[in-house]
């Protein structure tokens, strides 16, 4: 931001919000990465850490909400400042959900630990989470530099994750059909995959929010979607 407010305390309020958002982003990223690592390695201790970290993320979201309300009440923000504050509230909510999805994945570690995760599926999940984490990392970088172009580019890319999720979905179905004893762990893994796919959606939400913060306009057109997992196995006879 090139110019500063006449009230320097106002700048401090806004800086507080963006610093907290960045911190939340860093923690959410770490939680997702650790949850997937815990899942693949059957590491219950790491899973437990992810579950307890979620409390910090929830707290940070509430703190951002409170600070945003107070800033609106005290400063009556206008234009870019107003968009900045509303954007912070929305992004904090998305990041909090990302943390929840990481936590949910971590919770399933214990359930699948007994059977273990087949090597091939583990690689699929890792790959899916890499895509989602790249998306999340990039969107957090864009948050730092507020580039509308880059935000739009990230939004365009969500269908890579969707496609990967669809292929994992098919694979899990195959495992379940091969041996009904796989159904319990495969169902948990399916939820994990869905969780990770959702993280991509939240990254896209954040990209759209950043686009709005930077330009004051809503991004144009529908977001690209590859929803074919929704219809996989819909047998038409």
């Amino acid at each position: 931001m090139a110019s500063t407010h006449i009230y320097s305390a106002y700048d401090d309020d806004l800086k507080f919000l963006s610093r907290r958002i960045s911190e939340m982003g860093g923690l959410a990223e770490q939680m997702v990465a650790e949850a997937v690592r815990a899942l693949v390695n059957g590491d219950t201790a790491l899973a437990q850490k992810v579950i307890s970290d979620d409390v910090i993320l929830d707290h940070a979201e509430r703190e951002i909400g409170d600070k945003a309300i107070v800033t609106i009440a005290r400063r009556q923000p206008m234009a870019a400042d107003l968009r900045e504050i509303m954007g912070s509230i929305r992004i904090a909510a998305d990041l909090e959900r990302v943390g929840d999805l990481g936590k949910n994945t971590a919770k399933r570690v214990i359930a699948v630990q007994s059977t273990g995760v087949p090597r091939k599926l583990a690689r699929g999940l890792e790959h899916l989470s890499e895509l989602a984490l790249v998306q999340l990392k990039e969107v957090l970088d864009v948050y730092t530099n507020r580039s509308a172009d880059k935000a739009n580019a990230i939004r365009e890319r969500d269908n890579e994750i969707d496609a990967m999720y669809t292929s994992l979905f098919r694979e899990l179905l195959t495992y379940m059909m091969e041996d009904p004893r796989n159904i319990t762990s495969c169902t948990h893994l399916l939820f994990c995959a869905k969780n990770i796919e959702r993280i991509g959606d939240h990254a896209t939400n954040i990209a759209e929010t950043i686009f709005y913060m930077a330009t004051g306009a809503q991004p144009e057109g529908d977001r690209p979607k590859d929803d074919s997992a929704n219809t996989v196995g819909a047998v038409t006879e």
Binding site: Y7, A80, G216
Partner: protein, 271 residues
């Protein structure tokens, strides 16, 4: 039930003012105070039945522009206005125009409430009387009552209209001045920081009044309060150093202005 149909959404989003006709047109308006030039070729049109807010830092020319809309600048020695301002189709700087009649059509409310040191009744009836708008005493009584009602003051003063206007509170005095302006059935009402001497409650009443008056009148208001401009107006014009920087729908102006100077000003930043 109002369903969330595409048409309903379109309608809700369609708050653009671009179809509203112009009541006053300002073309290349420049104002000089002696050697000093206060306004630089301002092109600003005022839409009918719309509240237009003029904002900008002190000395930006917003009050000067406002005062040129009913030739209040004529009263200042050495003041010269160039360019053209029309009210409907009439050039208001035409030498043949009757300035007294112009100011009846384009009324004004000032920063400090300035009722005449007379009764409430006389304050409101003065204009209609000198303009010959009332045929009888009953007519005049009616105009006074209607004007006070329109100014939202009637219920508070109906039992004491023959008491002095200066005995009212500041907010009531300001609404009395609005009633006085309304009494001569103007087409346009100019307001120069009408709430800057009022407390928040009196301000809210005057703002509510501005909102209601918009149905029957075209209103131009100068204000230093950005929040007030955002609350009461549909169009906002931003002035800076004697230039019109930007004019836009108020909704756009306060969420996503086009000009960086507007942005800096409304956000309270250093330019």
């Amino acid at each position: 039930m109002n369903m969330l149909t595409e048409a309903a959404v379109e309608k809700a989003l369609d708050h653009k003012m671009s179809n509203v006709p112009y009541k006053m047109i300002g073309k290349d308006v420049s104002v000089y105070y002696g050697e000093k030039r206060a306004l630089f070729d301002v092109n600003l049109n005022i839409r009918e039945n719309t509240v237009t807010a003029l904002i900008g830092p002190s000395g930006c020319g917003k009050s000067t522009f406002l005062r040129s809309l009913n030739r209040m600048n004529d009263t200042i020695d050495g003041c010269r206005v160039t360019g053209k301002i029309t009210l409907d189709t009439d050039d208001i700087y035409d030498p043949d125009i009757d300035v007294v009649e112009l100011r009846a059509r384009v009324g004004m409310v000032f920063q400090k409430p300035n009722p005449f040191p007379k009764t409430i009744y006389e304050n409101v009836s003065y204009g209609p009387r000198i303009h010959g708008l009332a045929k009888s005493k009953a007519d005049l009584d009616q105009i006074v009552e209607t004007s006070l009602q329109r100014a939202g003051l009637w219920n508070e003063v109906k039992d004491r209209v023959h008491e002095s206007g200066t005995g009212l509170s500041g907010g009531q005095q300001q609404r009395l001045c609005i009633a006085r302006a309304v009494a001569v059935s103007p087409e346009v009402i100019l307001m120069d920081e009408p709430c800057s001497a009022l407390d928040p409650i009196a301000t809210a009443k005057v703002e509510e009044l501005i909102h209601e008056l918009r149905e029957n009148y075209t209103i131009v208001i100068v204000t230093h309060s950005m929040q007030q401009a955002a609350r009461v107006s549909q169009r906002t014009a931003m002035f800076h150093l004697g230039n019109l920087v930007e004019e836009n729908d108020t909704d756009k102006m306060f969420t996503n202005p086009d000009d960086p100077r507007t942005q800096d000003y409304i956000m309270g930043r250093f330019g």
